[in-house]
């Protein structure tokens, strides 16, 4: 998270950081290669084998792009849908504590059910196509953004609210100049969580029944005992997740300049 104050001198820690990542990655790959020598490729394929299978997978662009973009589209679309609905709803619920208390048990109930158990139901309702996966991702994003959104909008310092009231601020001025910026760090943690969960949601939906997507590949690879392909799909999903993470990192940096590292 940007904005943390560093204890040691900035130069020294940055110097370390440049080496930390590649050295760690090399160590990890070496350990993996070493361990894979003891096992059958079906249990643990070596990184080299996974790389070969990945390239094979990637060398069929129509296949790769279709599956990758399917999952990306499902997760991304569901995320946007869920977040866009969650933001106004969280404002509404933050302002209506009675309604919030009435609905909280249902929210907790839905969130308590593992999404992998809800996904088949949504597939039954909305079919094997993309729509059901988008809805799974939207559902999971909606709740993570909703809960942090409500907490964020409730986090406004009452003394600041009072100060703006003395200044003669209107309700909307208080929202845009005080409540919304106060809630931003909370909303972003909800969006980050929602982004990660949206990928899980889309893949869960694909597991429950689909003809394409990275989740389908995982299922297919498992069925055909193709562990290297399974690894390739896992790596593609990791890339997707890291992509989401970076997107939020940049968005947060742009949206909250006062939280930037000095």
């Amino acid at each position: 998270m940007p904005g943390k104050v560093r204890g040691k001198s900035g130069l020294m820690s940055r110097y370390y950081e440049y080496f930390l990542l590649p050295v760690g990655l090399a160590g990890f790959l070496y350990l993996w290669e070493y361990l894979s020598g003891f096992y059958d490729p079906f249990i643990l394929p070596s990184p080299r084998l996974v790389l070969e299978r990945s390239l094979e997978f990637f060398n069929q662009p129509q296949l790769f792009f279709m599956h990758f973009l399917t999952t990306l589209g499902e997760a991304g679309g569901g995320f946007c849908l869920g977040a866009l609905i969650a933001l106004p709803v969280s404002y509404f619920l933050a302002k209506n504590p009675v309604l919030e208390r009435l609905l909280t048990p249902y929210f907790v109930g839905i969130q308590a059910v593992p999404i992998v158990a809800l996904a088949p139901l949504l597939v039954i309702w909305f079919g094997f196509g993309i729509a059901s996966k988008v809805l799974v991702a939207a559902l999971i994003t909606f709740f993570s953004v909703l809960t942090t959104g409500i907490a964020g909008l409730r986090s406004t310092d009452p003394r600041l609210r009072e100060l703006l009231a003395i200044m003669g601020a209107t309700k909307w001025q208080i929202f845009f100049r005080l409540e919304f910026p106060s809630a931003l760090p909370y909303i972003f943690s909800g969006l980050r969580l929602g982004g990660a969960l949206a990928v899980i949601g889309a893949v869960s939906g694909e597991f429950a029944g689909a003809g394409k997507g990275l989740g389908y590949i995982v299922n297919f690879a498992r069925g055909s005992f193709d562990t290297p392909l399974l690894f390739a799909a896992i790596i593609a999903l990791a890339v997707l997740g890291i992509g989401f993470y970076l997107l939020f990192f940049i968005a947060e940096y742009l949206a909250m300049p006062w939280k930037r590292r000095r």
């Binding site: 003394r159 009072e162 703006l164 009231a165 003395i166 200044m167 003669g168 209107t170 006062w258």
Partner: protein
Amino acid sequence: MASGEKVVEVIDLASAFEDDGLPELAGVNLQIDAGEIISLVGPSGCGKSTLLRLIAGVLRPTAGEIKVFGENKITGWTRLSLVPQDALLLPWRTVLDNVRLPLELSASKKEDTYLRAREALALANLTGVEDKYPHQLSGGMKQRAALARALVGQARLLLLDEPFAALDAITRSQLHLELLRIWERTGITVLLVTHNIFEAVFLSHRVLVMREKPGRVIGEVRIDLDFPRSLKLVGTTEFGRLVGQVQELLEEGWG
């Protein structure tokens, strides 16, 4: 300095705690003339800050009357402004944008808000940090920024809610002198809530002493010390005598 105009009139004021409805303030009477610097001192929990919030119009009294500039309801930063204890700057706004905020809310022209915010910062002796965020400032600088924000609308009544309480002694003395300098230049009416008796005597024309349960004003000490005042005043016997008078009144309140 006093022109005789009543800036604040509090008549038989009473208020109750929000949670249990017990009386917090009862039978509070006070008057402040234009251009006066008045301090309210009292034990913590006597309702001094509540009284300030009542005068600012964010709380409603249960009985009695508050008139500010002769009116019962007053809104807008151009007549009455406040410096709170912890500066309360918006963390996502730069110093300049924080000072500009009150003007921005009243739909002033944008260029005008920048110009007047810079003037207010200069008046509060805080320049060169316009583009910094509040967390990058020291405690004293934050209070100067809050002071500039309070001055930006050219309000005629300045409410100070223990604005120097969290500062170190030297910074506090600097800000005391700064406040007196601003008062001399603007003739603004000041109501200061504090639990620091020395500060109250050093800055004020009159010190109003409060007692608790329920809170009310039990007396006042007139501070007939000449302006401009300097810090060496604190060492004089006259200053010590006035501090003693305030202490004595406070002690009576405990009895």
